[in-house]
């Protein structure tokens, strides 16, 4: 999503996040300022180097004087803001959101190649989700192993669209997109045909690296073996931007 263009002369504002007095450039978003200052903010869709999506809602924060919660990833800082990132209410909401995700598809961590290296699993623990109160949807999803190097398991997809964005914004191939609506949404390659048949995919593997869960993985990995590496992203994003 394109945020309005930044002014050439960027000013600095001061704000308070969780009783810490901080300064930030006025074109920064709350999540960027929090990450810079080591204030933990849970998030699944946001990734430094990709455009803002605002879909996972895990990064919602409270702003003093405002009833509505704000997503830290899509809210710019402003002078004098007083932000709370970890109130009891926010913790409760985040727990519920994570439970909703676990119940939506079939995230069985114990047999996942990303076990131990999964952002969803890690967030569940951080946010204190030790069980899921809502019923599981029990909807089976296919696994696409047609690509010679990678595999897609829809059962583990959280629809964060990081793969879609990295493919479009960084690689420039736009092989990925999302089809359908609501809970029937699915990430697809080209016309929702097997990934291995895609004539637009460059097999660069960026989608696999940015995927927070075990939905996109390398072929040949076994339980717990899929470790992802996203360090390339801010570097590439910066260089793409510079052009």
């Amino acid at each position: 999503m394109p945020l309005p263009a930044t002014q050439p002369n960027v000013r600095v504002v001061t704000l308070k996040i969780d009783d810490l007095d901080l300064s930030a450039r006025e074109d920064e978003t709350l999540i960027e300022v929090c990450r810079e200052n080591k204030i933990p903010i849970p998030s699944l869709c946001h990734l430094d180097g990709l455009s803002v999506w605002g879909g996972c809602r895990l990064c919602v924060v409270e702003l003093e004087g405002q009833n509505r919660l704000l997503a830290a990833c899509s809210t710019r800082v402003a002078e004098g803001m007083r932000v709370h990132t970890n109130t009891e209410r926010l913790q409760r909401y985040r727990r519920t959101l994570i439970e909703l995700l676990f119940a939506e598809r079939n995230h069985i961590c114990s047999v996942c190649v990303s076990n131990g290296h999964c952002e969803l699993q890690w967030l569940a623990q951080k946010c204190g989700v030790d069980h899921v109160r809502v019923p599981y949807r029990q909807q089976p999803y296919p696994v696409d192993s047609s690509h010679e190097m990678f595999r897609l398991d829809h059962n583990r997809c959280v629809l964060c669209t990081r793969c879609v964005r990295v493919c479009d914004e960084i690689e420039g191939a736009h092989t990925w997109d999302v089809m359908g609506r609501g809970s029937d949404c699915r990430v697809i390659t080209d016309l929702a045909r097997p990934w291995g048949e895609s004539d637009t995919c460059t097999s660069c593997g960026k989608c696999v690296q940015v995927c927070p869960t075990g939905a996109l993985v390398k072929q040949g990995t076994s339980v717990g073996e899929m470790v992802k590496d996203q360090h390339f992203l801010p570097i590439l994003a910066r260089r793409r931007h510079a052009r």
């Binding site: 309005p4 605002g54 879909g55 997503a71 809210t75 959101l97 019923p135």
Partner: protein
């Protein structure tokens, strides 16, 4: 062009009709068409033919009382019998008898009294031409004073003057939220000059609401005029009308209206011989309720999946293709021409302290008079339902009225005396919404109603944000269990908690308001839920 020139044109168009002694108006809006009004119109035309051209059968827009369609009204020149006679449930076989009747002795058996409260209690601004003019006729619109607002704005007012009138009028957005229209316009106007857009949201998606459809089908030029005035005021030169593909008749009439207005020089470049240019294009929706949300609507116009994006930035700042964009709905634009024509103070004199003007409602459900009404803001719900609507049929008792569609709530008998305005409805846990009013009688189960709306939100969720995408699925499951008397008290507690989370964390209005029907039925009809839980736990 000046107002005098336009008045001259109007007089000229009226003069063309001077020879007509009898005008037969047949409602050809969608609802009456569905009841067979086109065949009635044909039969009337046959019966009308005296060859002297003194009788004319004219297709007109919605007359309001849709449940009695096809509706036909007869206006005889020099006959003052309440100006016109209205006939209901007309069939083609009735045509000769109707045409044979003379002034003073109408066909009593078909007569629909117009002094009944359904007609007498209405106050028409938006629908002033509806049922009188031929929606496909540009001349017809001008003849009754159409485009006078636009010509006045362009020839006598600066954009700032227009903004001032609209602000003074106190008009608030009729799409549901009730955001002050003048403020919205001023924000777009204040953005630096450059490409700006005006969008008319005609994606009327609330199930049970058909106000915008009626306006578009009955008086399309009014909407174009409102948009043109808006464009002039905010400095835009391009407009889009985003209309549901499910409204083919409305689309057709809009296309005709745009074509004719353009040919007459009232749209396009140099509108009404001024330096102002304004092009309007129609964009078809494709069956997605979420596209009523402004950022999703803009995504759809851009040819993308209709998924909302976080706000701010608001469309006024960064809208269509990143340009400042003004979005209002059909009824809002339909109020503009009268405001400019008659002045903001006139408009502000109607309605309540904080909700000005009138509101069009679509009355439907278990109510005697189904159809479209326009009443001043502040009219009580009881007046609307019991007097104008004629109460509940079949000797049943009233239970609740649902306003605001899937984002709104149900109001019980105890609160029927509140005045209908944006703020009062909010205090009752519902909202104005676009104007759908569905009446329910004692046979309706409120848990079923909540489940119905949740099912709606679930299937209409775009899938972008977690709380809406999967929270609505879960809430629907819980409601379904409760409705089937299989739910537990723990289920109800979980449902209430999900309501809170989905409301607080969803990305757009669809998700944020999806729990409203549940919360409002829980607030007023909790016993119906409890009863089902008890049955489950027996």
């Amino acid at each position: 062009m000046h107002l005098e020139d336009l008045a001259e044109k109007a007089a000229e168009f009226r003069a063309e009709e001077a020879g007509i002694q009898r005008e037969v108006r047949v409602c050809v809006a969608a609802s009456c068409q569905s009841s067979g009004s086109l065949a009635v119109m044909e039969a009337l035309e046959d019966a009308c033919g005296d060859g002297k051209g003194t009788c004319r059968v004219k297709g007109v827009g919605c007359m309001g009382l849709c449940s009695a369609g096809p509706l036909v009204s007869i206006a005889d020149k020099d006959c003052s019998l309440d100006e016109s006679v209205l006939y209901r449930d007309v069939t083609p076989a009735d045509a000769p008898e109707i045409m044979g009747s003379v002034c003073g002795s109408p066909v009593e058996r078909l007569r629909c009294p117009t002094d009944q409260p359904f007609f007498a209690r209405q106050h028409k601004i938006v629908l002033e031409n509806s049922g009188f003019i031929d929606p496909d006729s540009f001349k017809g619109y001008v003849a009754v004073g159409g485009y006078a607002g636009m010509v006045r704005a362009l020839s006598e007012m600066t954009p700032a003057d227009v903004l001032r009138e609209v602000t003074t009028s106190g008009l608030r957005g009729r799409g549901g939220g009730g955001y002050p229209t003048g403020l919205k316009w001023s924000t777009v106007a204040k953005m630096p000059a450059g490409q700006k857009y005006v969008i008319c949201n005609a994606d009327e998606g609330d199930p049970g609401a058909f106000m915008d459809r009626a306006v578009l089908e009955s008086d399309p030029h009014r909407v174009l005029e409102g948009m043109a005035i808006a464009a002039y005021a905010v400095g835009a030169n391009k407009g889009y009308i985003y209309v549901r593909a499910e409204y083919p008749l409305a689309v057709e009439r809009l296309q005709t209206a745009i074509r004719k207005a353009k040919r007459a020089g009232f749209l396009g470049s140099k509108v009404a011989d001024t330096q102002f240019s304004f092009e309007v294009e129609i964009r078809l929706g494709a069956g997605a309720f979420v596209c009523g949300e402004e950022t999703a609507l803009m995504a759809s116009i851009e040819g993308l999946r209709g998924q909302p994006r976080p706000r701010p930035p608001y469309p006024a700042e960064s809208g269509l293709w990143g340009c400042p964009t003004l979005i209002n709905n059909v009824e809002t634009f339909a109020n503009i021409a009268p405001i400019v024509r008659e002045g903001g103070d006139w408009f502000a004199s109607i309605g309540t302290e904080r909700s000005k003007g009138t509101k069009v409602f679509a009355l439907a459900g278990k109510i005697r008079n189904t159809g479209l009404i326009e009443v001043p803001m502040g009219t009580s719900l009881r007046d609307i339902i019991e007097i104008i609507g004629g109460g509940i049929p079949d000797g049943k008792a009233f239970k609740a009225v649902q306003t605001g569609g899937p984002s709104g709530g149900c109001i019980p008998e105890a609160h029927l005396d509140i005045p209908v305005d944006y703020d009062s409805l909010k205090t009752l846990g519902t909202m104005m919404g676009s104007g759908g009013m569905i009446v329910m009688d004692e046979t309706s189960s409120m848990v079923d109603v909540a489940r119905y709306f949740m099912e709606f939100c679930m299937t209409e969720s775009c899938g972008k944000c977690i709380p809406c995408r999967t929270g609505t699925w879960q809430m629907h499951g819980l409601l379904d269990a409760i409705a089937k008397a299989q739910g537990t008290h723990a289920d109800l507690a979980l449902l209430e908690e999900l309501c809170e989370v989905v409301q607080a964390t969803s990305l757009c209005g669809l998700g944020q308001t999806a729990p409203n029907p549940v919360l409002s039925t829980l607030r007023y009809f909790r016993d119906e839920y409890e009863e089902k839980l008890q049955r489950a736990e027996l």
